[in-house]
Amino acid sequence: MLRFVGRRLIIMFITLYLIISLTWVMSKALPGTPFADDKLTPSSREVLFEKYGLDDPLPVQYVRYMLNVAQGDLGNSFYFESRPVTQIILEQAPVSAFIGAQAIIFGLIPGLILGVLAALRHNGVLDYVGTTVAVGGIAVPSFVLGPILQYWVGFQWGILPIAWDPFAPQWTMSVMPSISLSVFVTAIVARYIRSEMLEVLGQDYVTLAKAKGLSWLAVVWKHVLRNSLIPLVTVLFPLMVGLITGSIVIEQIFAVPGIGDLFVRSIFVNDYATILGTTIFFSVLFILAYLVQDILYAIIDPRIRVAGGGE
């Protein structure tokens, strides 16, 4: 087990290193400079370039950046009042994390219920309802649902604030973005639980549990549900992917000052330091989710370890 985790960790660091290098190269290839303001005189531009070390040879810039990143310093933003990027990210990430966590809760509960009911009433009405919701959640993306919610709930009925409003309490503003994101969570979870439960229901030990006279509820609760919930860790990674993707769009719609918004804005103002910083941040989240999923899965299912680690 230790060897497996160690191997995964090494891969993780190589991945991170390559991603950071790749994004660094890409950000150097971006058109325009962060200081494209016409009002800047050539001399003040020179001062700025010197301050950010942009006139050093590229290899020097690269090594310096890598050393800084290794110490957790993502450099200073070129745009947002030249504040440290790490600080901006740490400031904006909690908002996104809150919306994301809330979306998981909003999505997970109906997803579990629908998935379980669909499997228990296989080919029944509830199964069709569950499957429809699961497919619908994939077909109606957050950027369609978001504006619709905004229009009806926010504008027509005026229940919740239409967009981010610094004066309203945070929970009222986070509800609609979270709901928009949660539909996709519901879809994935319901679909997964349904197929997993159907498989478990067909297992011999379920027949045995029924045969020895356990009540229906005990069979479902103790044997079926528990065994179908364990492999749910495999949706961890796709969920993370979906939430990050979703947050980039949803934060545009609801003007949420989160990490996705920071990413998009930094691209439009050529703020290399922030682009790099957010990409690295996203990638770390991604890779961590991937790692945790793999390790959890290896704990649950030792066969994976043998197949993946025993070369």
């Binding site: 991945t15 890409m26 950000s27 994939i138 905004q150 990413f263 439009f268 990409t279 990638s283």
Partner: protein
């Protein structure tokens, strides 16, 4: 006792009645892979409806829509801006007075072009990569798998966004960015299938008859993975449409005056408060496309590859 003395004469034997031999016969015509799959697919109502929907939407986007639309997609006329849907403008007009009916089919064509080019890349890069990795195995496979593992660590959308920032936004560059970021699942699936197939008897037989790797791949391994490839492609298409829409939504996709479903939804969302129809039509078509491609892919999975069924 008496039995033993009995003489065995040819008269005691007569040819077997032909009728009894028929039970050994295979009745019914022999059914090939495609017919068999079609029969299975036909039983899946959701997939059939989806297939019909896709055909209808394609027909509308490529043939019927442009023929019916009295206006071109880029005709601007400020005198008729923000017209509600009517007999003249079926889906209304946008802020520059462009006919939304014509514009939407144009947008859908663009979205579909992008999806198909991305799927084509998926097919070429993903299948080749996966097949080589699986067939050669050993060190080559190890290196190629690490490469995929590293690529998987980078969020697809982030790659696509960064690529779009560096490249000029256009139909081709968007497709390439999406395709380049999204071929790894195909490579993984094909690798798994090739590894599974290459130890089977028919591969061994072909190899002992002297078939090289290339022949093995093109004649045996890939044809046997065809179902898997088709299913994966059917899932690539909606996800490429989706990624393009996200790119357009944050302003990095198709640039005006060109349109895609994503950019139309984006524009519609901006004007939604007063002109909800601008959001409604493109969003509805988008959802229908996603829905039917996903359902069809599900149906195809059951039909083409019953073993993959969970």
């Amino acid at each position: 006792m008496e039995m033993r003395d009995r003489e065995i004469t040819p008269e005691l034997f007569r040819p077997l009645d032909d009728g009894t031999r028929d039970s050994e016969k295979i009745t019914g015509p022999s059914i090939g892979f495609w017919r068999d799959s079609w029969i299975r697919l036909r039983k899946n109502r959701a997939a059939l409806v989806s297939l019909a929907l896709i055909v209808i939407l394609f027909a509308l986007a490529f043939a019927v829509g442009p023929m019916l639309a009295p206006f071109s997609a880029s005709d601007q006329d400020l005198a008729r801006r923000y017209q509600a849907p009517s007999g003249e403008f079926w889906f209304g007009t946008d802020e520059f007075g462009r006919d939304m009916f014509a514009r939407m089919w144009q947008g859908m064509r663009v979205s579909l072009y992008i999806a198909f080019i991305a799927a084509g890349l998926d097919l070429i890069v993903g299948v080749t990569f996966g097949a080589i990795s699986g067939l050669l195995g050993g060190k080559v496979d190890g290196v190629m798998q690490r490469f995929i593992e590293i690529l998987n660590g980078i969020p697809i959308l982030v790659v696509a966004i960064l690529a779009m920032v560096v490249l000029d936004p256009g139909i081709l560059t968007i497709s390439i960015a999406i395709g380049a970021a999204g071929w790894t699942p195909m490579a993984r699936l094909i690798r798994g299938r090739v590894i599974q197939l290459k130890d089977q008897e028919f591969t061994l037989a072909s190899r002992s008859l002297g078939a090289g790797n290339l022949r093995l791949l093109t004649k045996h391994l890939l044809p046997n993975s065809l179902g898997l490839i088709i299913i994966t492609l059917m899932l690539t298409i909606p996800s490429a449409i989706f990624t393009e829409a996200v790119l357009s939504f944050i302003g990095l996709g198709i640039q005006v005056p060109n349109a895609s479903l994503g950019s139309l939804i984006d524009a519609g969302a901006g004007d939604m408060r007063f002109y909800a129809y601008l959001l409604f039509f493109p969003a509805a078509v988008f959802c229908l496309l996603m829905l039917s491609f996903n359902l069809l892919a599900d149906g195809l999975r059951d039909a083409l590859d019953p073993r993959m069924r969970k």
